[in-house]
Symmetry: C2
Subunit: 206 residues, 2 copies
């Protein structure tokens, strides 16, 4: 890819993350690149096209990342763990892009939006199938598969909202905490202990 096109993309990612898509102007981006705003239009047809490019390639990479993690195992609990780790670590490592991808959908044109939604749904379906499989095998308690998948995904996605790359905790440390939080939440199921069937009530006495 041409050097300037890449520069524009990176500057846009920084600004969209910092100020938001609508609050960022083409002038802002041009200033960040050290060029005139008209020059942006040589590389991108519109501001919206620039946003779409960023969001689409992020989504693409997210799917590729998940596929790689999942290829490592065939056992459902391990696959779920791998899926969660893939999701969390990708969101923390590429915080700016994933933040944009999950918060600026309203900036897209209808056509571009539906392309993204389609990809996002395919991604979510992988998690939902993992939960379903786990429930079928008795690894997880039965429950609202979609709600749980949203819970898992939004929980981890939200990591991109507060995570500080220069903070006390590494990506790996946070990923591990989340991984276990999610896996425990899933395994224990969603019944309140005191109301659950007896065989689910054997909690370790702490």
């Amino acid at each position: 890819m041409a050097a300037m096109k890449e520069t524009i993309t990176q500057v846009a990612i920084d600004l969209f993350f910092q100020k938001g898509y609508f609050a960022t102007s083409i002038s802002d981006i041009a200033r960040g690149c050290g060029i005139q705003k008209a020059s942006i239009y040589y590389h991108f047809a519109s501001k919206e096209a620039l946003l779409f490019t960023i969001m689409y390639s992020t989504m693409q990479d997210l799917l590729t990342c998940l596929d790689r993690y999942l290829a490592r195992s065939t056992e459902v609990a391990e696959r779920m763990r791998a899926a969660v780790r893939s999701h969390v670590s990708f969101h923390l490592e590429r915080q700016k892009e994933t933040f944009i991808a999950s918060s600026e959908l309203r900036g897209l044109s209808p056509d571009h939006l539906s392309i993204l939604i389609e990809k996002r749904d395919a991604y979510e379906r992988i998690f939902q199938e993992l939960i379903h499989e786990g429930v079928a095998q008795g690894v997880y308690a039965a429950g609202e598969v979609k709600i749980l998948s949203y819970a898992i995904l939004t929980l981890c996605t939200a990591g991109a909202f507060w995570f500080r790359p220069d903070g006390r905790l590494s990506v790996d440390a946070v990923a591990t905490i989340y991984e276990n939080f999610v896996l425990n939440g899933l395994t224990a199921g969603q019944t309140r202990w005191s109301l659950a069937p007896a065989h689910l009530n054997q909690r370790p006495a702490l």
Copy 2:
């Protein structure tokens, strides 16, 4: 409060939720109210003041709601359960406002922003103290208190992003699922079972 001021607020909430703060113009809001845009400025000093009013009163109500829920119990596990339920149900019941409050902070002036941040931190601290207390009493496994509090709060906050009031599940149903997901995640702690101390490893055989 004067009727029109309330109308403007409600229309603004609808539009900010639907299109976002920056993508919504004063003209849009005026059109929704059936008045001229200049009339908005009789009720609010600026567009930003309107945003702040919405966010501040939402935050205020959120704190009041939590206080009421917490007043019901003194036992730490019950208090945490109540806190999660308060947080989730408030976010689902007042979806639009909480969505705005958690996604449009960048629209505020520095002064207004710091007021909101202060309130948000106070709110988060209540959860962190509950976790801390639970850990001290041995109810929860020791862990990263702040990370866990963020996990709990952002998980539930994210509910406001996908929840459909006219959907299959009621606020109560979702609140219960989340409540148990979070409580289990906390109780089980954040150590991987296979690596955890033996007394934490007695999982119910499913």
